[in-house]
Structures are given as C-alpha cells and as structure tokens.
C-alpha cells in the first residue's frame, strides 16, 4: 500500500483505539473513578492517617499505616513527595517513608480501576496486593540497611508533635465512599444480574443499521487488534463527553468559589452520561434496540443517593472541594490519556509482534527485566501506561512481564528519582531504585507463574 493509504490506516487505527476507550464500559469505570479520587483528596483529612506515622509510632503501626496512606492520601504525585519528605525527616523515619513512596504511585485508584476494566481484574488485584507487600518489605530492608543513619538524620523541629494531630473520618464520609464505589462497581462488574436486560424497546427504522455500517466504514473494527469500532451508543456518549467538557470548563474551574448554572449543567450531563452508558444498545435491521439492564436501575438509584447525600449531608464547601479536586484530576490526566491511547493504538500496527514476542513472550527473568527497564526509561503520564500495556498484550507480551512493567512504570520516572535524590541522597536513592527493579521483576515472575 502506498504512503497515503498507510497513513490513513494508521489514523483509523488510532481513532479506533480512542473510540474503544470512550465506549460505555470504560466511561462507567473512569467517570466514577475520578469522583472517588476527588473524594479521597477532598474529604479525607490527612491527619486521619498521619497520626500513625509519628516519630514514636511502633513498627507494627507505622508500616501498615504508610501502605494504607499511600493508597488513600497519594492520589496525585505532587502530594507524594512532600509527604514522603515529611515522614522521613519529621515522622516515623526512612522505612515507613519508603513504603509510602512505593505504594503511592503503585495503588493509584484511577490506575487500578482502569487496569481492572481494560486489562483484567487479575492484574489489577495483583498490582494492589503485591505493591503493598513489597512496599512494606522494601521499607523494612532500607530501614535495616541504613539503621545507623536514622539516628543522625532526625531534623530538629519546633513542633515535635507535628504528627500528633489526629482527625476522624465521619460516618457520612464512609457511606459516601461506599455509594461512589457502588456506582463504579455496578457499572463495571460483569455479572448477569447487572448486564442482563429485563425490559426493552426498539426505536424503529432502518437508519440504525445504516448509521452503524457508516461508522464501521470510518472506523473499522478489528478484533485481531482489539479495536471494537464505534457504536451508535458510542457516538451519543462521545457527544455527551464533549458537552461535559465544555460545561465543566465554565462550571467547575472555580467551583471552590461557588456554583453557577454551568456547574449544575455539568453535573446533570455527567449523571445522564452514566445512565446512557448503562443501557444495552444494538443496531438491528428493524431499528435501534434499547435494553434496560440491571445496572441501569442500580446506577439510577446509586447516583441519586450520591447527589442526595452531597446536597443534604455535607457542607457546601466540602462538596465544592470534592468537585474541584475531581475536575483538576480530569484536566491533568484526560488530555494526555487521549493522546496516549491514540499513539498506543497506532503503535499496535507499527511495532512487529515478533519483536515483543521474542523479548517478552514467555515468563522468563529476562522478559520481566525487560518489562521493568521499559517502564523505567520510557516515561508515560498517569494512566497512559494502561493503553501501552494493552498494546503490548495484544502484540504477544506475557502477563508476567506485563505486571512487572505496570509496577515499575509509575515508580521510577526520572522526575521522581531526581526529587527522591534531593530528599534522601544518592546512596539511598540508588538502593531504592535497585530494590524496586528487583521486586518488580520478581512480582512479574511470580504472577506469570500462576497465570496460565
């Protein structure tokens, strides 16, 4: 094929990947996940966890607290570094600080739910469990290796009770999280009760099938490459997303100062999008068949409950903070994700599968190491490691090396290594990087061994 045909084929593949990522089941995962991330950042006071990370905390308390803190407190990479420095210099010390540093990027709520939906719950769960175990292990190792240093580094502060302040997480916050989690799970759990249609109707007319085949022309589905193509429902969802973007720009940019009409518009559109995504839609010769699924009922009830609680059970400022955090994560992550998905989709066609298969096709030490090294040297913005991983998977990478890559990639970006260096120095940073590489490789090997 000539150059023009090749380029248009590339573009179509990129667009096809992007469309697949904007499909109903992805939106039902990502939209709630951003709200959960926003809630973690806005509604959980750091003191609720940092109280366990003070200088006098016992090891049995500070290490698990660091691991949990990494999950709950560190939704954004900019939060991780200052907290890491504080725990190291003013709090529980090197060990728990390292645990926190490791767990934070590894168990990012957005990345985990995204990984679960796109690649598989097995990898997502493995990522969570192994990250916690290895985080504590690496922390313990480093604390032991540098045990003499720990005595000397303690920086004198005026306020030795810096970590003593505690805070409670009120019951309503727990309930709120449960509801938000419910929205996420109801939308993504592949269980008959939720995915089956209990009633339905058909919008008559052959336009549906015609439209669908037109869409298939523009963006051809390619099951071999895992490209689903765009559905009629998909077009509606994508349009809604564009509208949400516009409304949110005007309504959520400064929502911590107050609501305006755009704010309410954006929130209504988001709710509508989730509901639309819950229908089971298919184009048939007679028309557009629309099925009312179990998840549709669940989502309507749960989303309603979320807004009710937000309006009645929380302070206005708390909700404003929640929405502001959610929106700023979206602004930080989505644009890069769109580009990343597009490029990863094109890469699928450009990179020969034989390269991937010979390098990482089987679960060997070398293959896992290759996964880790790729994660270290190639920097991808948050969440982009998921479409990249999917491309590798479709090109033949084994799930073991894939996990190794997914664990190492968020940990070892050049920027984080540089900042870590300014906080704990060259020797400790070097050991940390080495340990992360070793354990990621090990994690991949073990996981690959269990997965058949």
């Amino acid at each position: 094929m000539n150059v023009v045909e090749y380029i248009s084929m590339l573009l179509q593949t990129g667009l096809g990947s992007l469309a697949a990522y904007l499909a109903a089941h992805v939106l039902l995962c990502l939209l709630p996940a951003f709200f959960i991330a926003g809630a973690l950042a806005a509604l959980i006071p750091k003191e609720a966890i940092t109280r366990y990370l003070g200088r006098d905390a016992s090891k049995w308390v500070s290490y698990p607290a660091s691991a949990l803190g990494g999950f709950v407190l560190a939704v954004c990479s900019c939060t991780i570094m200052p907290l890491f420095a504080s725990i190291y210099k003013k709090g529980a010390g090197l060990g728990p600080a390292i645990t926190f540093l490791f767990v934070g990027p590894a168990i990012n709520i957005l990345a985990i739910s995204f990984t679960g939906v796109q690649i598989g719950m097995d990898i997502a769960l493995a990522r969570v469990i192994l990250a916690m175990i290895f985080g504590v292990t690496i922390g313990l190792i480093m604390a032991w290796v540098f045990r003499k240093d720990d005595e000397e580094h303690n920086q004198v502060t005026n306020n030795n009770n810096l970590f003593a302040h505690g805070a409670k997480v009120p019951a309503r916050t727990w309930v709120f999280f449960a509801l938000l989690l419910g929205v996420l799970i109801a939308g993504t759990l592949q269980v008959g009760l939720l995915t089956n249609s209990y009633a339905g109707f058909t919008l008559p007319g052959s336009w549906a099938e015609g439209f669908q085949s037109q869409l298939d022309d523009w963006v051809p589905p390619n099951p071999a490459l895992g490209i689903e193509g765009v559905s009629v429902q998909g077009v509606l969802l994508i349009s809604l997303l564009v509208l949400i973007g516009v409304a949110s720009w005007f309504g959520l940019n400064e929502v911590d100062r107050g609501y305006n009409t755009w704010t309410y518009t954006a929130l209504v559109l988001i709710s509508v999008t989730l509901v639309v995504a819950s229908f089971k839609v298919a184009a048939t010769p007679t028309g557009l068949s629309v099925g009312l699924t179990g998840k549709l009922f669940a989502e309507v009830i749960l989303i309603g409950a979320v807004w009710w609680m937000a309006a009645r059970r929380f302070e206005t400022f708390e909700i404003q903070q929640w929405l502001w955090e959610m929106w700023r994560f979206v602004k930080q992550i989505i644009p890069l994700l769109v580009v990343g998905v597009f490029v990863a989709g094109m890469a699928r066609v450009v990179i020969p599968a034989s390269w991937i298969q010979s390098l990482a096709g089987r679960n060997t030490i070398l293959a896992n190491l290759a996964g880790v090294l790729f994660g270290v040297f190639m920097y991808f913005p948050t969440l982009v490691e998921v479409p990249v991983a999917q491309t590798f998977l479709s090109l033949g990478m084994h799930r073991g090396p894939l996990l190794a890559y997914l664990l190492a990639d968020p940990e070892l970006s050049l920027q984080s290594i540089l900042i870590t260096n300014t906080v704990i120095g060259k020797k400790k940073t070097a050991l940390y990087v080495t340990l992360v590489a070793i354990f990621s490789t090990l994690a991949g090997l073990i996981f690959g061994f269990f997965v058949r």
Binding site: K46, C78, P82, K90, L162, I419
Partner: protein
C-alpha cells in the same frame, strides 16, 4: 506582609496562590508574594504536606485548600499585628 505559598507547582498550590492574590486584591491589602518550590526550603517549615500558606513566617494552613473567608481572616489579622 509577606505571603509565602509552599508547593512544588501542582494545580492545588497554584490555586492557593490564586486565592491568596484574590483575597489581597479584594481587601486592598499590601502584600508581597513568594512561591516556594524547592523541597529543601519547603521542609524548613513545620508542615506535613503541601500546599501551605505562610504569612509573615507563620504557617496558617497546610495540606488543604482553605475557604476564601478563612484566607481573608488571616490577612486581616496580619494587617492589624
């Protein structure tokens, strides 16, 4: 008064700076701003996490975005003392 924003340049820290500037403008106060981005300098202050608002070397809040009324309150206090 000297208002310092401690933060390595993420959206929350920038938002805090914007809030502080708006508060100063709305109150007609006189203030110099400094955005401290270096980790070593940030850690000199008694805080656990960023962003943090420091007025005349006293930490007013850290680890969260304050409400506009709170910020105005602190600025008014600093004007009097």
């Amino acid at each position: 008064m000297i208002i310092k924003i401690l933060g390595s340049g993420c959206p929350k820290c920038n938002r805090l700076e914007q809030l502080a500037r708006d508060a100063v403008a709305e109150l007609g106060a006189a203030a110099e701003f400094d955005h401290v981005r270096q980790m070593a300098e940030i850690m000199q202050y008694d805080i656990i996490s960023t962003p943090a608002l420091v007025i005349d070397e006293v930490v007013k809040c850290s680890g969260r975005l304050p409400q506009m009324d709170e910020v105005k309150g602190w600025i008014k206090e600093a004007q009097v003392s």
